[in-house]
Subunit: 363 residues, 2 copies
């Protein structure tokens, strides 16, 4: 299940007990572990060289290799190379590979609470989700949720605000969503269903053709950066904002707990820091590249439209009911959602005199 | 200027040329450098155990030590222990110490362009500043600005939105700022001066007494988290928001370039990643703790007031003139500001359909 190569270099011998808990001060142990080479596999939910999230996963592996001086090498596999996109969590849980990268809501069928760590319609933005995860008890709940599966989750990527997506007809009333066949996953998809739409699940590579042939009426993918790469603007006329369904999506590293315990303390610290570093870098990347891509799309004649307030109000009401019902269906999901509701209510009250007000005073 | 201890452990000998450019794949060099111990000093602009930014600086040193398995130890010095708070940059530039942590605008007297990397009145928030620095060419300009001083800057901390501060009289018209003696630094202070106020510079430890005795009429420090720690609410009645003068303040690591070049590649990667990891963690910390502290302050009867729109409009106009004049006074500052203006204009247009709209649709 795991390949480790022990490199006994420069005459050093491997000390017993160096496999775990190597403390920074215990120099003789550390020297021993410093000689040990780990070669890990990381499966992902992303196509090869995929902008944003896929680049971020590859960046994580590179940063870890640089920081560890090559002692921890992580080979990154695109979706389907070793396991299909949506079986990343399973592969890590079983120990087929040491590590995976994906979006928590991909495994909601197996872990219903997972999607609450991922994206909440009309929910927190990236900074708010980060504050809850790292300073409000969120990471502990996430670890508790995955512990029965032998998986350690680490936050490793945020998209920031997404868009509502691509349409070939105008949305002027909430009734326009009825009968709409749309590609949109997660809780947002359930909201659309509740309002009479039909959710169609398609992997990235099939969205363009489905939209162009009329097999679907609309498609939500990520945002301008990724959408431009798929060419969706060539198959649809209107680009609707804002991405009420995903004010942020988080991505996770899944680490097999048994594999994790074989890493010495310094490599564990490197993996943790790299995950968080990539989380920041990916958000910066999305903010910058989404901006550039939206300029390109507008230049090519795409009509960027905002959903009418009345439609957003209906969506918000439906979203509240969907999230509530989804949380109620699973005890761990209910626990996570209760903690989030309490925390975000407080954080949003603070945002009123802080982050939010900064946007107002710019005018 | 620098103390290095070479630890030849486990029988390994130090290979020639291991001091710089150790490539991850070059295992014999890496093993050699893996034995080398660096003991660095980091001076800071912060009192001992200072909440938020001070804790962040200490966290940086700890994370680096953990990731390096103790090979790079950084001893953190509070303001005044080795050098005064505002002489951190100088000490690093001269090579008195290898590293420092402070706020760029503290050395605007020596490097006029520095404050443009720090805080801009009515300017970008933390996420926007990060996007410009890492994806919009900002870091390159920052490095270029400090290069003549032999200093490498790394972003290492963000406060997020601050507050306008503590007042004992109400601000209902812009005329109420005339004659006001206020502790507020940087470009925000210059804006206050332009509108008839008097800027008083005081270190953290003297603000409370000055406010209580009436030596100053008002004081801006950071935000609820740090302000509560100083007890400013016991010396003033009104707490005004929003922090138009500092929608975000960035903190920097200053690294002596000659010292930097002695680090092997893996330790350089560790320092870079730790700085960025701390940047994320500090923002999360401020968001969470500011929220909690504002609840505490409100519970103790503090009156949180928003500046009237009319006053904010006058401040915005004055701020535009102050920033423009400040940029025009120095060629490098002018270059940085021109790049920022162009970038943030584009980013703000994107925010209108993304981050900003998410706040609107929550209602």
């Amino acid at each position: 299940m795991k390949r480790r190569t022990l490199v006994a270099a420069a005459g050093a011998t491997l000390a017993a007990g160096a496999l775990s808990g190597c403390k920074p001060q215990a120099s003789s142990d550390c020297v021993a572990s410093a000689q040990q080479q780990f070669n890990w596999k990381m499966v992902t939910s992303w196509p090869k060289n995929f902008p944003g999230v896929g680049v971020g996963a590859e960046r994580f592996a590179r940063v870890v290799e640089e920081m560890s001086g090559g002692r921890l090498k992580i080979k990154v596999y695109a979706a389907g190379e070793l396991v299909p996109a949506l079986e990343v969590f399973d592969a890590v849980s079983r120990g087929t590979v040491e590590m995976g990268h994906g979006a928590p809501y991909y495994w909601k069928g197996k872990v219903p609470a997972a999607q609450f760590f991922c994206a909440l319609p009309f929910g927190p933005n990236a900074a708010e989700m980060n504050a809850w995860l790292f300073k409000g008890g969120g990471m502990q709940l996430w670890e508790e949720t995955y512990q029965p599966f032998g998986v350690l989750p680490l936050l490793c990527g945020s998209t920031g605000v997404q868009t509502f997506g691509w349409f070939n007809k105008e949305i002027t009333r909430v009734e326009d969503l009825q009968g709409l066949k749309m590609r949109t996953p997660g809780l947002g998809g359930e909201v659309l269903s509740k309002l009479g739409g039909t959710v169609v699940n398609l992997p990235a590579g099939e969205i363009f053709t489905a939209l162009q042939t009329g097999a679907i009426d609309a498609a939500e993918w990520i945002g301008p950066y990724n959408d431009l790469a798929l060419g969706l603007h060539k198959a649809a006329r209107y680009y609707y904002t804002p991405g009420w369904q995903e004010p942020n999506v988080t991505f996770e590293l899944d680490i097999n707990l048994k594999a994790w315990e074989t890493l010495p303390a310094d490599l564990q610290a490197i993996v943790r820091a790299a995950a968080r570093e990539v989380n920041g870098d990916m958000l910066d990347d999305y903010n910058a590249k989404n901006m550039e891509a939206l300029e390109t799309l507008r230049g090519e004649g795409v009509e960027v439209r905002r959903l009418p307030d009345e439609v957003l109000a209906s969506l918000r009401q439906a979203a509240a009911e969907v999230v509530e019902a989804s949380a109620a269906a699973d005890p761990q999901a209910a626990k996570v959602w209760a903690a989030q509701m309490a925390y975000f209510k407080r954080l949003w009250a603070y945002a009123e005199v802080a982050e939010r007000d900064i946007y107002r005073i710019r005018e």
